[in-house]
């Protein structure tokens, strides 16, 4: 049986699927969040060096990971939108941007809260922090350019070019702790040919992974909800939207 990969590239067929995905991923994210928070506050042991304060890692690291990952996914959708001129791709890119900006902000904010007790300062001009700040500006620039252009198609393509140009920042963030001698600590979890190596205790690692998946599923749920709104806004005049609204009434 041949699978029609492009079936869901049409907003009309994607709309109901997005609704179902939003519900399921929303539920999964709440469950994972409850488990993850319990693990990170009560199960994971106290750090021998940083005491209880280290527990902010369970939101800081997942948020930082998500900020970079969302930018990457956003740039991929934007590129797909430019290459194949599919409407849905650019809508997905637009829907991802606010959540990405939010996680970038959370990563910076929790980093600042963590930095005060550990480093004695709210903020340092260190390579990783500055490059993460640039990422926030890139998200904001993407949204600003999108809203400044009235024609939706032109806005999508123009901001898509910006998203692709900005992807150069991602390797800079990722390798900043290796390239520069920074105050921000190096990577604790390393991916290599020998598999995943971690310097954390296993229970800490698992708590962090659960929290990461909670953030990830939250992102999917929120983005699906947001893309449904964007579809309705853009396709408001099309027949299928009118028919659907008639049925619901």
């Amino acid at each position: 049986m041949a699978i029609n990969w492009f079936k869901y590239s049409s907003p009309a067929t994607f709309y109901p699927l997005a609704g179902r995905l939003a519900v399921w991923f929303g539920i999964a994210s709440v469950l994972l969040l409850v488990v993850g928070l319990y693990m990170s506050f009560f199960v994971a042991p106290t750090d021998y060096k940083q005491g209880e304060g280290y527990r902010i890692i369970y939101i800081h690291v997942p948020a930082a990971w998500m900020s970079m990952f969302i930018y990457f996914v956003m740039a991929c959708w934007a590129a797909a939108g430019i290459i194949w001129r599919t409407r849905l791709s650019s809508m997905m890119a637009l829907a991802l941007a606010p959540t990405g900006a939010m996680f970038t902000f959370i990563a910076l904010w929790t980093g600042s809260l963590w930095g005060k007790p550990m480093w004695g300062t709210w903020w340092v001009w260190d390579a990783r922090i500055v490059s993460e700040l640039i990422l926030l500006f890139l998200f904001i620039g993407f949204m600003a350019l999108n809203s400044a252009i009235d024609d939706a198609r032109r806005a999508a393509r123009a901001s898509g070019v910006l998203a692709i140009v900005g992807i150069i920042n991602l390797p800079i963030i990722y390798y900043s702790v290796q390239w520069w001698n920074t105050l921000h600590q190096g990577a604790t979890i390393k991916f290599s040919t020998q598999g995943v190596q971690s310097e954390m205790s296993e229970i800490m690692l698992y708590s962090m992974l659960v929290m990461t998946f909670a953030c990830w599923f939250y992102t999917i749920a929120v983005v699906m909800t947001r893309v449904r709104r964007i579809i309705l806004e853009r396709e408001g005049n099309s027949t299928w939207v009118k028919e659907m609204l008639q049925e619901e009434r």
């Binding site: 430019i82 500055v130 640039i134 500006f137 890139l138 904001i140 620039g141 600003a144 350019l145 400044a148 252009i149 009235d150 032109r154 393509r157 123009a158 901001s159 070019v161 910006l162 692709i164 140009v165 900005g166 920042n169 800079i172």
Partner: protein, 222 residues
């Protein structure tokens, strides 16, 4: 093909020379911004020397960004840009020509003026040379990266403010290494590492930015 490049450069330079005040405005903006800092933070020579590189570099960034508006907007307004897009020569090459002309008009005067401003801040001879070399390597990269932003914001509401949000974050690496080069010379270390990285940024920008700016122009013009 390089005939087209030469023609575009000469055309843009001729146009710029016919509106000489535009060129001088950017330069004077640069000088005024740099001159404001000693008035704002006080005239202690030690403090001024420490911040000279950063101040000159930030002013160069702002001056380049302000001049970006002129890169395509006149051609866009009178329809020349559409003809350039339709021309048989590759658009990225034409964009490269326009960027080179833009740099000669907006960037090169900054490079020439910078040592004088550095002198006012009490920089040493070696640091002045490092400042010039870093600007010489950095300002072309600024023009190239800025061309993408200028192309994207053509004919957009509030384009002038928007271009700063789009372009300034991408300028940060150039700023860090440019100002860092001067500071490491002032501190008695060589600046070769910084210059090498700036050269790498310039080469990457030369390779990719004309292409990106051409894509941006196609979107804006269609």
């Amino acid at each position: 093909m390089f005939g087209a490049l030469k023609t575009v450069i000469l055309r843009d330079l001729t146009l710029a020379m016919r509106h000489r005040s535009d060129v001088l405005t950017t330069l004077f903006f640069f000088i005024i911004v740099v001159s404001l800092f000693p008035l704002g933070v006080g005239p202690e020579p030690e403090q001024l020397r420490a911040m000279a590189a950063g101040v000159v570099w930030v002013a160069a960034l702002l001056a380049t960004m302000l001049s970006l508006g002129r890169l395509f907007s006149d051609d866009y307004a009178d329809g020349t840009l559409e003809q350039l897009v339709l021309a048989p020569q590759p658009l990225s090459l034409i964009v490269l020509g326009k960027v080179i002309a833009h740099w000669m008009v907006a960037g090169l005067p900054l490079v020439i003026m910078a040592p004088l401003l550095g002198l006012q801040f009490g920089l040493s001879g070696d640091a002045l040379i490092a400042l010039m070399i870093s600007l010489l390597l950095g300002t072309p990269a600024l023009s190239l990266i800025g061309a993408i932003g200028a192309g994207l914001t053509l004919g957009v509401r509030g384009g002038g403010v928007l271009v700063s949000i789009l372009v300034l974050p991408l300028y940060i690496p150039v700023l860090i290494f440019g100002a860092g080069a001067v500071e490491s010379v002032s501190a008695g270390m060589g600046a070769e590492g910084h210059f090498a990285l700036m050269g790498a940024i310039l080469i990457m920008a030369l390779l990719l930015a004309p292409w990106g700016a051409a894509a941006a122009l196609r979107i804006s013009v269609e």
